[in-house]
Amino acid sequence: MTDPRSLSPLDLDTPDKTFLDANELVINMGPQHPATHGVLRVILRLDGEKVLGLECVIGYLHRGVEKIAENRTYTMFNPYVDRMDYVAAVSNGLGYCEAVERLLSVEAPPRAQYIRVILTELNRIASHQLWLGTHALDIGAITPLFYTFRDREEILKIFEKYCGARLTTHAFRIGGLQYEAYDGFERDVKNFVSFVKPKIDEYEELLTTNRIWLERTKGVGVISGKDCIALGVTGPVLRASGVKWDIRKAQPYANYKNFDFEIPTGENGDTYDRYIVRMIEMRQSLRIIEQAVEGIPEGPIMAKVPKVMKPPVGEVYHSIEAPKGELGYFIVSDGSTQPYRVRVRPPSFVNLQALDLMCRDQLVADVIAVIGTLDIVLGEVDR
């Protein structure tokens, strides 16, 4: 305690150490925390209730997927890909298979591509539903969780019928599909689309005009388009900040080009806009599924790909629009049966970097909301 006489009476902003106004508190929101969507540890520097800055400590779920890839053949590595973003496993598989097909300069037959699009869009809706349920739960609304999980169950049933697994589906193979669409697949998907359309309106009824929801999300975790691009943030977070960019439109893959759908964008890049963008995205995915189910062509479901594939020497970078953002695969092949290097560009890992910027000068309660709105999955962040 400095000598009292030295403090001039007007010098009131000397740092005080009492509990009353400890001016900088470092709090550890540990790996085990109900609202960090997995084993993420955030070290918060607080001034009372305001967040001065935060630092993410990750790596608790690091399984060394890229190292394993170098010791597995291309087909054997396929199931590992589902374990990264376990919420949107199907789109992981799509990204990997298309990257290797590009390496083999092989093209999946149209029927396979249509079914792939249907399953990926179904998976996008399931991922957004899980996001909405847990995000609303973090902010305190208990009911949406049960609504979204009930509807998500329908999608998982379709996955289970198609490929036997609900979550880590391993539905795709390099060069096309393993399983033919079971009979009644189109009927199930059509029923699902008509079943879920009014349900999304139900979610909107619960939250969109809910005064307290507006107060908890408007103006929280704001990030501008420019910052998003600088930080490499992609997906709904980027679109909510006003940048109209979606890989399905910018660089179409798996013949997305012959489906028409809009890309929703928000104006001021806060949590509410991201909520609205994701809700519209769910509806757009339904539109894509409808068009895809109508136009499924007949024909083979598997391109001519050798059993033990040895892609020619070379490297390729291929990325798709996963529910969380741009999911990219950089595969280097040295001509042998095993990839020489597989680099995965995970959207959650890069989006998480923006957490510090978005939480600056927000309150502690908002950090939870921002983590929710970033929609990160730790399996993908830590790989």
């Binding site: 109900p34 609303a136 739960l137 305190g140 609504y147 908890r216 939870i368």
Partner: protein, 441 residues
């Protein structure tokens, strides 16, 4: 035996509550009756909350323990009794032990003045509503000491937060209550009264519930009180301290077993207490709907049947569910249990049709029905609203409820005294001003 019946008869016909009549025996009987009724209400509330919340969330809620989970509250109570009672080391033993009792004391003594009927209240204190508000403000002390005694950083912050919330909403609640009491002084007989029974009598005399009196003002006062009472009991949108997805845990995290159940009991009885204040002040306590509009013996007779019909309906619901119960032998006990429960309810319904019971039970039934309506409101809030952030919560408390409360009080006063205000203030001032202008010209 006859003397006893005659003694009960003499009491039932008396026009004063046992407390005021200074009758020790009846007062203790009433205290027991109220607290038994309260614990049954808390148990029922526990079951109702889980079931209604579940059905709001597309799920079934407790179904396993007893038919449709009816025995679940008892199972909970047993579990809490048997659970180990941990006292954190370094905790302040004495204060740790006292805190839940302060909270329960505050939550239970409020029912001393709650009027279930013109003579059915434990006592009719001259300062009824003042006593209720005072005692309910004591629970803040219990919460603060509980947070302090748990000797750990987060319950302390949780306790400070929830007590700050309760203190600030008490102010808003007080203002709403004052404006309601102001309305009691408008009928010719009484000069305005704080006593709860007096307030309901005033509503009866003035022929309308205070909710509808002075059209917008009554409803605004009721709205302020409704919001403040939800915040006062740390429920639904204001349940920041308990449901902690942020850092600070609630003040009763260090408690376990029986002590935690005391907090749980106190929370529910505080909810019932605060809703009974709202019912007494704005919804005409034990008065049946439209007491003056549809008065007259035929209407009284019709309304007096409603309690019986209500219980019969409940019984019918139970029988309907027994019919729908699956036929599997495993469910045999549950069907019998449910059928028995339905039979009991139906029996109570029938008893309520007997003439002597019919006249007297009406008051209590209407009061409880209104309080039950509030309970449903609480559960509904919990199902739909996300949680307020702490600063928003305080902002609503201080910047929204308090100013409207003050403005409301002033408007009610002015409107109530509109004749006097007109004759003694507006007219002389107007005349003076006119005179001043005339002298100028």
């Amino acid at each position: 035996m006859h003397a006893l019946v005659q003694y009960i008869e003499s009491y039932l016909s008396s026009d004063k509550t046992p407390g005021t009549a200074g009758n020790w025996f009846w007062a203790t009987v009433y205290v027991l009756l109220v607290f038994v009724g309260l614990s049954i209400a808390v148990i029922a509330m526990n079951w109702l909350e889980r079931k209604i919340l579940a059905h709001m969330q597309v799920r079934l809620g407790p179904m396993r323990v007893g038919p449709h989970g009816l025995l679940q509250p008892i199972a909970d109570a047993l579990k809490l009794l048997l659970k180990e009672d941990i006292i954190p080391d370094g905790a302040d033993k004495v204060v740790f032990w006292i805190a839940p009792f302060i909270v329960v004391l505050a939550a239970f003594t409020v029912f001393v003045v709650v009027p279930f009927g013109p003579t059915h209240a434990i006592t009719d204190m001259n300062i009824g509503i003042l006593f209720m508000l005072g005692v309910s403000s004591l629970s803040v002390l219990g919460i603060v000491t509980a947070g302090w005694a748990s000797n750990s950083h987060y319950p302390l912050i949780g306790a400070l937060r929830s007590s700050a919330q309760m203190v600030s909403y008490e102010v808003a609640m007080g203002l709403a209550v004052v404006s309601a009491i102001l309305m009691t002084s408008l009928n010719e007989s009484s000069t305005g009264t704080l006593s709860m029974i007096g307030i309901v009598e005033a509503q009866k005399a003035q022929g309308e519930w205070f909710l509808f009196k002075f059209f917008p003002l009554g409803i605004i006062a009721f709205a302020i009180f409704a919001i403040a009472m939800v915040a006062e009991t740390n429920r639904a949108p204001f349940d920041l301290p308990e449901a902690e997805s942020e850092l600070t845990a609630g003040f009763h995290t260090e408690y376990s077993g029986f002590r935690w159940s005391l907090f749980f009991l106190a929370e529910y009885s505080a909810m019932i207490a605060v809703s009974s204040i709202a019912v007494t002040l704005w919804l005409g306590g034990w008065l049946r709907p439209f007491p003056n509009l549809l008065h007259g013996t035929t209407w009284d007779l019709a309304f007096s049947f409603i309690p019986g019909i209500a219980f019969l309906l409940l019984g019918a619901m139970c029988f309907y569910n027994t019919a729908r119960m699956p036929k599997h032998p495993l469910f045999k006990i549950q069907t019998i249990g449910l059928a028995g429960f339905g039979a009991v309810l139906a029996l109570i319904g029938l008893v309520m049709f007997l003439p002597p019971v019919r006249e007297r039970v009406g008051d209590i039934f209407w009061f409880s029905a209104k309080v039950a309506g509030f309970m449903y409101l609480y559960i509904w809030y919990r199902g739909t609203f996300p949680r307020y952030r702490f600063d928003q919560l305080m902002k609503v408390g201080w910047k929204v409820l308090l100013p409207t409360g003050l403005a409301l009080l002033i408007c009610t006063a002015l409107w109530a005294m509109r004749s006097e205000v007109w004759t003694q203030v507006v007219v002389p001032v107007g005349m003076g001003f006119a005179d001043f202008v005339r002298r100028l010209l």
